[in-house]
């Protein structure tokens, strides 16, 4: 069987991504999903600033949410939350 080589650009120089790096999608690493309890959340953004993967999002309208396409489920967000508003729920409990 012929080997399947992959084309590589000149000197392996590649364009920088702008939103996320689709070359390494890491959401499938996760076995515990962060879930925020909006009733408890004070929007201090401690979870947002502490995420190694930039997968905690914040907006004034929607508060804290998670980028599950990339979240590895490390749980740092939950650990740093001063009010215990982020639970870590097994992925198998979810339909999607």
């Amino acid at each position: 069987m012929p080997k399947a080589y992959k084309q590589v650009p000149f000197a392996a120089i590649v364009k920088s991504p702008t939103v996320n790096n689709q070359g390494m999608v890491t959401g499938n690493w996760r076995y515990l999903r962060p879930v925020v309890d909006k009733g408890l959340c004070t929007e201090c953004k401690m979870c947002w600033i502490s995420c190694p993967d930039a997968t905690v999002n914040y907006s004034k309208d929607d508060g804290i949410s998670f980028n599950l396409e990339f979240c590895k489920g490390c749980g740092v967000c939950s650990n740093v939350c001063p009010v215990g508003a982020i639970n870590r729920v097994p992925e198998l409990d979810f339909e999607d």
Binding site: A4, Y5, K6, V8, F10, A11, A12, I13, V14, S16
Partner: protein, 415 residues
């Protein structure tokens, strides 16, 4: 107007770098190449050159600095000699693989031991497998010219590879000689400004040198290989254009001397060609039908040119001014590559090796005579007598003295 000058291979390359308007150079002292950096420093200090000179803390840093500068879009140079060349070894493949066309001047020198300043090609030949374009200059003029040619070839958008202007330490780097510094307008006509397609630019961000998947490695290396083959095609074109603009007469790959009717040739590179030519004059008068082939490039190796040229002769004596201990056939790098180049050619000559000129020794007339004598014996025998010979160590000649005596008898007036 071109200027007639008196200087060395090093000042000549400083002239080339000035004419090429280099942006960055990186220095570290080691003999004999050092003087080029001293010269550039002087020219920066007096305003003659606009260039950043970074004093590296070693050769590894020198090449790394030039690498960084090239990624930022600068025309960058550096240089070294001897163990300095090998100290930088880690950097050669990343620079070539990153397709950064920096230029290095290497004034060659023995590796330790012996702790010797003398010229020897081993240092620079050790990095021949990394994708750098290079060859040895015979004199100051060729050093200057090779520098300009190398920038032109290496920076070609279809090539983008680093280059080395190599020259024999002391013989070329330090012996004062006449040369012509070309006119700026000529250089501007020959060498366009360096404008790489990719550089570190915050408005067009790229990722340079990421790790790749195993399936991408071979294609990436194949590309470097293809480009090196393309250099072989570009060298004759660029050389012809150079000759036209600067009024020079360079052969693209192999400089031949008295080969028209020769049945034996010396094959070598670098400054020993000067002595070789004069030895050939004496040998001709003594009846030896001998000529010389001088290689202008070692990478890419001029295999196709040699396939055309060498079948004209019966015996080729390859002179290696380098060591490659345990190499096939017992000689040095040139012997192996020359034999490999013509291995499949019909009517190929008998190729024997000589190791001579190590440790900065000149190859004397007497030694050329000895080699000619040994080649004559091969010619008469019609077969290899000894695959490779270290001159003055395991020679099998009948003594150079006889050759000398024959010459003295034949042409006493030209002594």
């Amino acid at each position: 107007m071109p200027i007639k000058k008196r200087g060395t291979g090093l000042t000549a390359v400083a002239d080339a770098w000035q004419l090429a308007d280099i942006d960055v150079t990186a220095s570290y002292p080691i003999r004999p190449y050092t003087a080029v950096m001293a010269e550039v420093a002087k020219r920066i200090a007096n305003g003659q050159m606009k260039c950043e000179m970074v004093h590296g803390e070693g050769e590894h840093a020198q090449f790394s600095i030039a690498h960084g500068a090239s990624m930022a879009g600068a025309r960058a140079t550096t240089g070294s000699s001897g163990v300095g060349v090998t100290y930088a070894f880690e950097t050669y493949s990343p620079i070539a693989g990153g397709r950064c066309p920096i230029q290095a001047l290497i004034g060659d020198r023995t590796l330790d031991p012996p702790g010797d300043f003398g010229s020897e090609h081993t240092d620079c030949l050790t990095l021949r497998d990394n994708g750098w374009i290079y060859g040895w200059a015979e004199n100051a003029q060729e050093a200057l010219d090779n520098s300009l040619l190398c920038f032109r070839i290496g920076e070609d958008p279809e090539i983008m590879l680093p280059q080395i202007v190599a020259m024999d330490g002391y013989f070329v780097t330090h012996i004062s000689q006449d040369y012509v510094m070309p006119d700026q307008a000529q250089v501007d006509k020959f060498l366009p400004p360096f404008k790489p397609e990719f550089r570190l630019d915050v408005n067009k961000p790229v990722i340079m040198g990421p790790q790749i998947e195993p399936e991408m490695g071979p294609p990436l290396e194949w590309d470097r290989n293809v480009v090196m083959e393309r250099v072989k095609e570009l060298i004759p074109k660029a050389t012809a254009e150079f000759n036209k603009i600067f009024g020079a007469k360079y052969a693209p790959f192999v400089d031949e001397y008295m080969t028209d009717d020769a049945d034996m040739v010396f094959l070598l590179q670098g400054a020993h060609a000067v002595t070789c030519r004069s030895a050939i004059k004496y040998l001709r008068e003594a009846g030896y039908k001998v000529g010389m082939c001088r290689l202008r490039w070692i990478r890419p190796f001029p295999d196709a040119a040699l396939q055309q040229i060498l079948p004209k002769f019966k015996v080729v004596g390859v002179i290696d001014t380098n060591t490659s201990y345990g190499a096939a056939g017992g000689g040095g790098v040139l012997l192996v590559e020359t034999r490999a180049s013509v291995s499949e050619v019909a009517n190929k000559p008998i190729i024997q090796g000589f190791t001579s000129g190590l440790g900065g020794e000149t190859i004397t007339h007497e030694e050329f005579f000895k080699m000619a004598d040994m080649m004559k014996q091969t010619l008469d025998a019609g077969k290899i007598i000894q695959s490779s010979t270290w001159v003055n160590f395991n020679d099998y000649d009948k003594a150079a003295i006889e050759v000398k005596a024959a010459w003295e008898q034949a042409a006493p007036s030209t002594k």
